[in-house]
Symmetry: C4
């Protein structure tokens, strides 16, 4: 089956423009849906309302972190598809797998925002984000290695950049065994690292 499967996946040229437009649509919707997880607090006095808004602080932070994280994926996706010379069924499905993980983000974001001190919620968030990172790296590896979909002159991405994202989330998940606050600190740090690291990878 392996060979037949490989043939199937390398078949057909999908319209890159429509694939890009569809992905962009999903990105724009997911990033905008995050706000729906912020619910107006139920309050019966001014003090209760202020307290209710203060209690939403973890949710606000999660909203911003997930927003930045999705933005970074959007920019990386944009650059990746810019390099793409041809597409095939395999790329289409790997992109779909990545979009599946991406559209899931509002749920772990709401979960960790509701239970910021619960190990189960913090671990769940880490695994969900790791799934995003792994599926994105998988797509990247598929594009550059084997029968490449990009111009060979582009060079190959350094392994350190490929494993960095998934590995950071794995470390964060393991750190929940020590203290969930350490894991959360890493979750907040990752977008910051990527924000500044963006330039490094460009210079490859």
């Amino acid at each position: 089956m392996g060979n037949g499967f490989r043939k199937l996946m390398s078949s057909q040229n999908f319209g890159k423009a429509r694939l890009e437009a569809f992905s962009d649509g999903v990105f724009a919707i997911v990033i905008t849906l995050l706000v729906l997880e912020l619910h107006v607090p139920d309050a019966h006095s001014p003090a209760e309302l202020v307290q209710g808004l203060i209690n939403l602080l973890p949710k606000f932070i999660c909203f911003v972190v997930s927003f930045v994280y999705i933005t970074i994926y959007w920019i990386n996706h944009h650059q990746l598809f810019h390099m793409l010379k041809k597409t095939n069924r395999g790329l289409f499905w790997l992109n779909s797998l990545f979009l599946l993980c991406l559209t899931f983000i509002p749920f772990p974001t709401a979960l960790i925002g509701s239970y910021p001190n619960e190990r189960a919620a913090v671990i769940f968030y880490g695994f969900a984000m790791m799934a995003c990172a792994v599926s994105f790296v998988w797509m990247k590896v598929y594009m550059f290695f084997g029968d490449p979909l990009v111009d060979p002159s582009e060079g190959k991405p350094a392994v350190v950049f490929l494993v960095a994202g998934p590995l950071l989330y794995l470390v964060a998940v393991l750190l929940t065994l020590v203290d969930v606050k350490l894991a959360i600190a890493i979750y907040v740090l990752i977008p910051i690292i990527y924000f500044f690291a963006g330039g490094i990878e460009d210079k490859r």
Copy 2:
């Protein structure tokens, strides 16, 4: 009336690009809205939270199955419209009928995710998915048969591929009379079959 109706439906050339863009928008939104049916569990202890997440398992599975299913429709819709040489009012309305069924998917998905063991929910899901399949096949038949909207050199789709989807859902619905688990197994199998069958139809 039949003749006047036929004339009306074959009138006018709708912009294919805008119809495609509109359909893509609906696809992107529907696939991203699925996550809104996943609600953060109400928990008062770590154990309750873990249990709450485990209880969401049927909803997670339904989320993935519906996501894959919509993705397959997107790819098929993409290929169908790629072959389209002209459009008319009839195609526009058949496409709208299909989009109506498509935008409805989050509801049966949430229903079967909430009541995975209830025959009524499993049957409802089957009929909703069958409606999608039938409306898609109807659009396909309209494009290829009668006054064709595609180049005649494209060949006509094999009847087996046209009836396969609706028929599989009919079988699943009938199997609920025996055991709902059999129906669910078929619901999960259908995207997998289409995933692998995609290549077969290409070689037609």
Copy 3:
């Protein structure tokens, strides 16, 4: 002020393509959000679930009627903008007014779906739909009369087509004084009339 206001509104040429794309985005989202008003029923037995689904019937009907109605607006909007030779600030704001009414549709749809026998809900729905129709006709009149934004050779829309939509909703709202069921019948009829009338206007 009238003169200064007229000057302001006729100033500037807005990108027609981006205005069209933005409107299409709003159309696609509104039509897909309708499903979010369908909530999975709370049931504790198979019989309750079946009853819960049957109770949703008015909501399902409203979902379909609003879907068809928005689709008809989309097609009409598409044809209107196809004729557009230039745009200005006035058109932009009339289009925005129409989009405001359009994005509001999920609320009256949910309202009448929840209270199909309540006069207040039926009247509210009628006025909301009338607002859509009036804002659309206003935009049409602005485009064709005065300093026209379309090629004069296009001819002007017949007054009967301009007043038909708003008038039908006015009649429906007045009929609620007799029986709400009469009003609902007209709400269901309107998309059907437009579906068949589409061809008549084309032949103008």
Copy 4:
């Protein structure tokens, strides 16, 4: 670090078209999501339903004000990007910061709609809107001053137009100390001012 950071931010040319399309997508979704904050009232008698709808009046007003406000941002964003000759990483991130504030709008809109008489809600709304205004002005300043991203012949925006928006919200927030109704009056006035002021800035 300052210098390295400046170099990083000025690096790379992002596709303006895709950035514009992505922003438009977010605009279209946010403006359409506002309606989801309008919930059908729970009523057990006709009188209760009418009362419930009347009670929604503040929410309806907030819906319209936020809709108009987002529309004005869309038009301004459209004009700003029309002038853009080149893009860079810094612009991308400032645009993302603006989109973050924009996607947040449904929350303060729902908050002030739920608690129109509560100082905390009115202040929160003012600060959220001020964040939008500041991030938009920041992007504008970035584009026109320093290493400009627009053609120098475009002229620079007048400082009065840059500070007007944020300042008006600051005044409104301070006025909540006197009376929240004054602040709300300013919130309603701001879109009206911008609606008419649009033409003034054009003539610069």
